[in-house]
Amino acid sequence: MQTLAQTQPVAMPQPKRAWWRDIVGVALIAAVGLAGYWLFPDNLALLTRVIAMALLALSIDLLVGYCGIATLGQAALFGAGAYAAGIACVNGITEPFTLVLIGAVAGSLAGLVMGVVMLRASHGLPQLVLSIAIVQLFHEAANKASAWTGGSDGLAGLSPAALFGVFEFDLWGRTAYLFGLGLLLTVFIVLKFVVRSPFGMLCRGIKEDPVRVGAMGAFVFPVLLKMFMISGSVAGIGGALAAISTQVVGLDSVSFELSANALVMLVLGGIGTLYGALVGTVIFMGFEHVVSSINPFHWMTLVGVLLIVMVLFAPRGLTGLMETYTGLKLGKRGGRA
């Protein structure tokens, strides 16, 4: 990986000012997360759901925003994590951190499989189609293996052990939420390092111009495959969190719909900055919750309008909109994104 230094000009890093901004960013996420805990103590299960979705959206951002790989099948990785954690939990492994680890490993293995297949195609549409086909195959497999997964009835009967042996995953969902928030922060910090690392730079270089990066002597395929595995482990952690906090894993966690929803949330927030995934998820799910409790019947129309308006007036997502108006740069984007 000696070529890394040479790829830096592609994405112009600004290491000096970046680190304190990241610390502020992480502190802000933690503050918002804790504010959510104090402000909505009765909606913690919903907020935990948001965190699981945010992890999924983050994992998509790694591929879409940093590698230029379009995917509509990310739920395959999320579901792999959820089912792996769920099956482990039913079979007696109930320690939450172990379950998250199992989810992450399962997710990254699924990411490996998905990457090997999807990287056969080199650009947008075929990759989208491959990702759809893969998530459908995963869905079908989960449905077929009902002895393991419970099929369409769902995998029930998970009872994860108390966190640190003290904090139960209970009705109020405080443990689940804080556990999720901790996971999210940890993952976010790790990912900030990843995308800043020479490896992350290389990925962005590949996004800009894979041929040129290849010509400079880097191997494109293994780099992208590695990112697929990292992305898979993030999605897998999200899945495991969903499994632990819900105590049921359903087929919806490996569905095309979930993948599409997460992608929509990510694009809404803005791709190519890890913050976009979080902003998009929170705004979208908050919007969904409020609108659907006021009038569920028209919720779909309103979301449609929201998407159209976004494309027309904020094509770079909410974070893009913010950057335009505040001049604050949240992350580095490719010129063509």
Binding site: H123, L128, K144, M300, G304, V311, L312
Partner: protein, 286 residues
């Protein structure tokens, strides 16, 4: 042997129904570089108009089909003018987002106007009855779909390859700036091809309603199928779309006959195989 022919007939007719619905999408994606996930929504609008005309107003089937095509195009024109025109040439993700948004809106409005129940399009007597074709009976409607598919494929091919409009369209696709410098009004060419694509979608929605029943979630339920079929065929290629529909129809139908329990595995495994071997689709342009 008889069984094989019988399955082949099923596969052929099912594939043709898919073809008529999808060819419009293939045109928009291949020629206009627009990933229009709302295509299914237009097919659905066609189905609803035909259902309203034929069932509630009692009009003749052929007339209902015409009305469906015209009505859908009429609805699509302002959408093209105000929404789709903004995303020609935009990144694919943007197009996906916008067209998903449009799909959601159409679903929501349809649900509000027509309710959530299934809508049928009553067939004329001649098409409704099973016909004996020697070794088995087949719904006359299936034969009708087959004929429609052949007519659409032939008509489109000659339109694009043999007419002045076709020349302009192909030129606009290859180099829009140059074409417009030569005095061709490319936005008119685009608008006409968009209308054509939508009209074909509506036709497909109507005649394919026996396979894919018309209901508000039609647009979402079959979105993936349509997208997959077009990508496998190679966006913009008519022979490619025919080939993809027949091939996937055959895989699907045979898979469901031989091993129905694993029907979906066959279908998606075939898709993965084809896309891996031909990333631009079977007959896609490089």
């Amino acid at each position: 042997m008889q069984t094989i022919i019988s399955i082949a007939v099923d596969a052929l007719t099912y594939g043709m129904a898919l073809f008529v619905i999808c060819i419009g999408l293939s045109l928009t994606m291949g020629l206009m570089r627009l990933v229009n996930l709302a295509h299914g929504a237009f097919a659905m609008i066609g189905g609803y108009i035909a259902s309203y005309a034929a069932r509630d107003l009692g009009l003749w089937y052929g007339f209902a089909v015409l009305l469906a095509i015209l009505g859908t195009v009429l609805i699509a024109i302002p959408l093209e003018r105000f929404l789709f025109r903004r995303i020609y040439g935009a990144p694919q993700l943007t197009q996906v987002l916008m067209t998903i948004g449009i799909t959601f809106c159409i679903i929501g409005i349809t649900n509000y106007l027509f309710g959530p129940t299934l809508k049928t399009i009553p067939l004329p007597r001649g098409l409704a009855e099973p016909v004996d074709i020697g070794f088995r009976t087949i719904a006359a409607h299936r034969l009708f779909v087959l004929v429609c598919g052949i007519v659409v494929a032939g008509g489109l091919w000659s339109l694009i390859e043999r007419t002045a409009f076709g020349v302009k369209l192909r030129a606009a696709v290859d180099n829009a700036a140059m074409t417009s410098a030569l005095g061709v009004r490319t936005e008119v060419v685009y608008a006409v091809s968009f209308a054509l694509a939508v009209g074909l979608g509506a036709l497909g929605g109507v005649i394919g309603a026996e396979f894919l029943p018309v209901e508000p979630y039609y647009a979402l339920r079959y979105m993936v199928t349509f997208l997959v079929v077009v990508s496998v065929g190679g966006a913009g290629s008519i022979p490619g779309a025919v080939l993809a529909c027949l091939l996937l129809g055959a895989v699907d139908t045979t898979g469901r006959y031989l091993m129905p329990d694993f029907g979906n595995f066959f279908f998606y495994a075939a898709v993965i195989l084809i896309v891996c071997l031909f990333p631009r689709g079977l007959l896609g342009r490089a």
